[in-house]
Structures are given as structure tokens and as C-alpha cells.
Amino acid sequence: MSGAFAPAPGRAPLRTVVASQIRMELTLTARRGEAVVLAMGVPLLVLLGAGLTEATNVPGDDRLAFVVPGVLALTVMSTAFTGQAITTGYERSYGVLKRLGASPLTRPGLLFAKTTAVLGLIVLQLITLAAVGLAVGWRPHLGSILPALGVTVLATAAYSGLALLMASRLRPEATTGAATLIYVLMLAAGGIMFAAPDLGTFGWFLLPLAAHAEALRETLSYGGSVPTAIWLSLGTWAVVFVTAAARTFRWE
């Protein structure tokens, strides 16, 4: 056995390192399958409840055109923000992040792997929910799908940044509480089940969920374009919180 431990240090190609980490993130996500289903449960209920019944007042006469894009936006927030904040908070308290920090995985590598895994999960969830929407009668304009994807990527980045920022700053229990509270507040005030409070352009900057939902409505439901104020709002959110997360992210 002599020589079995002879040093031969070195980092695998960064692509391999990050790919392994993405695989691990996805494996663990799949293992928490019930959490993923649950994360889709609320949006699904909202879609069917508010979309098909008169339970709430929605603007306009096409209920699904209003509700389905809102539900898609809600799902993005649920996974990229609430889910990720809670998971990362606990990973920190378990010392997982510290352990990864003591490995050849770099900080940008970890953040990239986390974001990619979250994006993959979001794509799956959005396809499922959109399919349910189509099945019950939503008729989207596929010609406007590119700007819709654009705002979705911005929203994902903003939510991820805020999630990682909170997980860096707060204890895991506090992160879980705050992330859930923000989710509920956004669900109530974000213009998903009923119209958002009309705060004008300011509202887009205050409520990214409302901005994202409105952008998806304008594009997917009505075949229009994304209002400039919404591009600016989601762009600002993304830049501010991704930068803040990258600055404050700690291994320990």
C-alpha cells in the first residue's frame, strides 16, 4: 500500500468542478421532492382557484390572461427567493458552505452552480404550470416569449441575490421566517390573485413580483412589449442584489 497517499494535488477543470456541484444541488433538490411539489402547490391552487372561479376580482374580462402570468412570476419568486434562502441558510448552519469553502470549488463556482440548479428547476416548474394553464384555456402569444424570458432571468437573478444576501446575514431560522413572510406579503400585494395597489411606476420598483407578473401579462397574454419602467426596475433589483450577495457571501 506504500505510496497510496503520495501527494498529487490539483483542481479538476473548473467545468468539471462546477458540473459536479450542479449535479449535487439537483440531486438534493430531487430528494426534497415534497418541498418542490409544495413550492408548486400554492401557485397551482392560485391558478385554478383565481383563474377558473370568480373567487377574486381581477382586472379585465379574461381571467386566465391575468392570473396565469402572475402564477408563473410567483413560482419564480418561490423557488429563486424563498426556497433558495431557506436552503442556503441551513447549508450555512450545517457547515456545508464552510466545508465547500475548504475545497477546490471557488466562490463564483458555487454561486454559479446554485444559480444554474435553481434556473433548471424554475424552467421545469414553469413548463408544468404553463401546460396546466394551456389545458384550462390560457392562450399565450409565443411571439413575445423572448422579452418574457429576459425579464424572468432578471427576476431570477434579483431573487437569488436577495436570497443569498439574507442567508449570509441572518441566522437560518430568521432567514426562513423572513423569506416566508416576504413570500406571503408579495403574494398578497403583488397583483397575482387580484390587482396590485396602483402605485404607478413606483410600484414596479417596490414590488418586483408585481413588475414581473405585469411584464409577463403584457408579453405572453397580450403580445405586447415590456414597459421600460419594468426593465429598469428588475434590472436595478438584479444589479443591486447580485452585487450585494457577491460582496457579503461568506463561507462560514
Partner: protein, 305 residues
Amino acid sequence: MTDAVEVRDVVVRYGDTPAVDGVSLTVPRGRVLSLLGHNGAGKTSLLQVCEGFRRADSGTVRVLGLDPMGDHDALMPRLGIMLQSGGVYPWATAGEILRLFASFAATPLDVDMLLDRLGLRKFERTRWRRLSGGEQQRLSLAVALVGRPELVFLDEPTAGMDTEARHTTWRLIEELRADGVTVLLTTHLLDEAERLADDVVIMRSGVVAATGTPAELTKAAGIDLLEVRADPGLVPDGRLAHLKVTEPTPGEYTITGALDAAVIADVLSWFATKNAQVTAVNTHRRTLEDVYLALTAGEKTRVYR
């Protein structure tokens, strides 16, 4: 070639309380250095600075010639780090965890070999949170070694292990050393330090209390002890003035000082001149434990000389 670890005048404070208060030490390449001390002596805090998890409040640390914080990305692939506890996804299996860290390395060790060597094969499909403390420790050790590091930091490597696992781990660490890996480990186990370490640094309350090889620490002049059983009440005279003679119980004499063969012969002939009936003679070599206890517990224990 630079030393594997160079620590100079490092201070680590938690608030106003210094956990490490001006420690310097060097780990030469290919050697095993054991940081020995009670819980709270500052061992883990010092290790955290070496691993780049904490910045020293003052002083400098170079690890493989690099700055552990500034050169984090360049340094990590060359190190194997075993944390004191936790650090693993609770829902991942032992096999998945080890393979994840193996995949981070350019030329990792064979995962199956490591699982077998550390007795983890039957836990390959067991999730981390279902492993016992000792099994988690063994997996943490495997994670530290899988990347074929040139320097490993082991924080209390055998804590929570049963006797068999402890001996397996010791053999593994001896094999690491034989293969040219540098090891810096912390422990509060004296037999662990005595068996594994080329060099021992004893820490007490954040400072270095003693440094040396186990042999140096135990054989310094005047540390031997001679016990003689003879008639009670003999009063030592000038001939034994250079030694310390006590009679803790009547008829049981303990003599400490620079005891070589000539001195021992002299002591015994002194008893002979007193016409004493000598019924037993014992010599004791001081163990690392004696040194450690003397250094860490102050005057409460026997301090020779």
C-alpha cells in the same frame, strides 16, 4: 523549499478576549506536528487562521508559501481539511459526498479504496445524518484526503471514534507521513500526540507553553525520578544537596534531579552509609503526560525540581 506552515506572532481575538495570543510555530515539509492542549486553548482558532476561515488580528501566516485568505483559490486544491464537525449535506449519502469531493480534484484517490480503508463501505448508501459521530468523522477524514493533498489540517481527527477506528486513523496518518504528506493536527489526547507527532506544540490559554519532539519534551535534564524504599526518617545531608529528596510517606523516598548512573549509585551508597535497609528501587521516566499536566495545570501536579 519553504516550510509547509509558518505562523508568526499570530493573535486572534473574539471581542476583547484573545483566543490566540502571539503564537509562532513552523511545520516543516513532510512532518507531523501536533497542537496539543485543553479545549479552549486556542488550537482550533489557530487552525482556522491557517485554513483561511479567519483573518489573524495580528501576525502573519504563510501556508505552502501562500496567504490563506488572499490566495484561497490557489491554495485549496493543495490542502486537505478535516473540520471538527458537520460540514456535509445531511441528505447526501457517504458515497455521494466522497465522490463529489473526488470530482473536484485533478487526480483523486480511488474512492472505493478510501471507503474500504476507513471502513465506510457498508455506509456508502447511508445518508450523512444517519451516520454515527465516529462514522461522520471517518468520512470527514476521507473527504480531506481524497484530493491527494500535500498538506492536511486535521482538527481533533479521532474525536468520537471508537478504539478500533482510532487505531485505523493513526495508521492512516502514519502512512500519510511515510508518503510525504505534511500533517498539522490538533488533539487533546496525549497518546495520539506521542504516537503520531514528529513535533509537539503544547498550547495553554492561547500561548505556546512548550515545543519540541516528544523525546525532547520528556527527556530534558532533571526530569527523571528515583524512588527508594528504606527505613523511615532518614535526613539527607550535604552529599545529596544537589538533588531534591522528599519523603511523601514514611520510608518512601522520591529523589529528583539530574539522575545519571553515577548519581544513582551515589544515592544508593548514601543509603548504605546510613545502614538503611533498602527494599525497593524504582526509576521513572517522565512521560509526555507529566510534561503536559505540569504545563497546563500549573502547580497542582508534581513539578520536578
